[in-house]
């Protein structure tokens, strides 16, 4: 199944760093989320789009994970050649991630 079935997400940006908060709709799914969505999975999902490292922060009280991705915005919002200079649409790309059904 897709990550979108159990979680919602929002992207933020600071300079050339993108951060994506992934939040379980049902706090009971937090464990499943934490198991399936590792920093390594996120890094490989985005491939060449994210040149730098991906760090994962856990926020169990909100049933959420926060991913901080360096060198992810083509030099940052003010100089990127991308249509989406903020990388706002990256959260939607992450929700397309395949996760185990169980």
């Amino acid at each position: 199944m897709k990550l979108r079935q159990i979680a919602h997400a929002r992207t933020g940006d600071k300079g050339d760093t993108s951060s994506i908060a992934v939040i379980a709709f049902d706090p009971a799914d937090y464990g499943k989320l934490a198991q399936a969505v590792t920093a390594a999975r996120v890094k490989s999902h985005f491939g060449t789009l994210v040149a730098g490292e991906v760090t994962r922060y856990e926020v169990p009280s909100l049933g959420a994970l926060n991913f901080v991705m360096r060198q992810a915005l083509g030099g940052g919002v003010t100089r990127s050649l991308s249509l989406d200079t903020h990388g706002k649409s990256l959260s939607s790309a992450l929700l397309d991630l395949d996760i185990p059904d169980a």
């Binding site: 908060a21 939040i23 060449t48 789009l49 009280s61 901080v68 940052g76 050649l81 249509l83 990256l90």
Partner: protein, 447 residues
């Protein structure tokens, strides 16, 4: 127990005006805060001020104040905003003049200055975070340097009786922390409460982003009434906890999910959110729905504030040129790909000097590149070609759009709707400055 009601009237410079009017009229607010200053906006404002010493503050300041001043005065609501941008003093003079015109003589308008630290940074050996090089290496390309100042001068202005407080580059949450510290008489080393107040500021600073804006995803997250989205109110208690709500009958929704998205928005380490006021800790925050469109948020904390202030640097970094053209119907994608190949060859053939180029099809692969975009196999009905490049001169940037435009008569069949543009690139970098080197000052004016 005392409760302070603080509302967010704007989440960015161009934000809707009516939600602030609704808040001013029906929110029973103590404070109405307008956050209107993105990083890049202040660098642009500095450029505007350089050509006209009276310019450099937010062009919508007048329109926003005209819309809310009457209901704010009626309700006793004080206004705090960073719409001063690069020229808080002129903005305050303008606001005072406007207040007089609107029939409010004797209104106190405070300007907070001191965030402009260009003189201290230019030519200094302050290390630029992104490059590791000293600021002096930026030379004449350095256009602006603004330190993120904190809540203290805002609280000071309110204590001196200001009805309107206008700042330049203040940290966004500090616009909310200032009024809360003033209203409750908290101390500026009460890290726990400052952490809580910073959470309240962070929840409110993007206005509609916590009331259901930037949230809807039909079938998964449905939100009613987005065309009439209401902006948020924080009901803050003396212990620092907050209930997020909005005016009854306005569009959107306040739920645990909308609050969670905003709590984590633009955060890096949730246990260490750095502001000029405090090192805030949001890692133990809890949210509880306590009524319709009412969510209690609690559990934030904080530790001692950082020694140094973050400084945002505006740097002239050349130009970008761009051109677009559309193709539709059978074979649209193949003609779009042919168009891209032609422009790619033409830019090389005619020797357009670029340091970076992008060739993409909007509707196919423009946002996330080929790897993520290949999953949808269906042939699109239409595509839009986009070519963008980075150059050192405006003239060179214009050549990129022209090579797309020539596709009209020289390219594949049926291309239409060309647009071409050139944009000056203002890069944003950052550095840090010892706190003592940025001295915020409050100037009090009267209408």
């Amino acid at each position: 127990m005392k409760t302070v009601r603080i509302g967010a009237g704007a989440g960015y410079s161009g934000d809707r005006i009516e939600p602030a009017v609704e808040l001013a009229e029906k929110g029973a607010l103590d404070y109405l805060v307008f956050e209107c200053l993105a990083e890049r906006t202040i660098a642009l404002a500095q450029q505007a001020r350089r050509t006209n010493p009276d310019a450099g503050f937010d062009p919508l300041l007048g329109e926003r104040l005209k819309a809310v001043l009457v209901p704010c005065r009626r309700a006793g609501t004080r206004i705090v905003t960073n719409m001063g941008a690069a020229n808080p003093l002129r903005a305050a003079q303008y606001a005072a003049g406007l207040a007089r015109q609107l029939g409010f003589p004797g209104l106190k308008v405070a300007a907070v200055t001191g965030d402009d630290v260009l003189a201290a940074i230019a030519g200094s050996d302050c290390r630029v975070e992104e490059s590791g090089a000293p600021a002096s290496a930026l030379g004449a390309s350095l256009i602006s340097a603004n330190a993120y100042i904190g809540a203290a001068p805002i609280a000071e202005a309110l204590a001196a009786g200001a009805d309107i407080v206008i700042t330049g580059r203040a940290a966004d949450p500090s616009l909310f922390v200032g009024p809360l510290v003033h209203a409750f008489g908290w101390s500026f080393d009460d890290w726990h409460r400052l952490g809580q107040a910073t959470l309240t500021g962070h929840l409110l600073e993007c206005a509609g982003q916590v009331t259901g804006g930037y949230f809807a995803d039909p079938g998964f997250k449905d939100v009613a009434g987005l065309a009439r989205l209401g902006f948020p109110i924080g009901e803050v208690s003396e212990d620092g906890s907050v209930v997020i709500t909005k005016v009854a009958g306005s569009g959107g929704e306040v739920t645990p999910a909308t609050c969670k998205e905003q709590i984590l928005y633009e955060l890096h380490d949730p246990a260490r959110y750095l502001t000029p006021d405090v090192t805030a800790d949001f890692s133990q925050v809890r949210v509880t729905q306590i009524g319709p469109d009412r969510v209690r948020v609690e559990g934030a904390s904080g530790q001692e504030r950082p020694d140094r202030l973050k400084v945002s640097l505006g740097v002239a970094e050349g130009f970008t040129g761009e051109g677009q053209i559309s193709y539709a119907g059978p074979g649209a994608r193949a003609r779009g790909e042919l168009a891209l190949a032609i422009v790619r060859e033409r830019l090389a053939l005619t020797g357009v000097a670029t340091s970076e180029l992008r060739f993409e099809l909007i509707g196919i692969d423009s946002l996330h590149g080929a790897a993520l975009s290949t999953k949808c196999g269906q042939e699109p009905y239409e595509v839009r070609v986009r070519v963008a490049g980075r150059t050192t001169s405006r003239a060179e940037a214009a050549r990129i759009g022209r090579e797309v435009e020539t596709l009209y008569t020289n390219g594949p069949a049926g291309g239409g709707g060309v647009t071409a543009s050139v944009r000056e690139v203002l890069g944003m970098l950052s550095t840090y400055l010892p706190r003592e080197q940025a001295a915020p000052t409050v100037h009090m004016l009267e209408s």
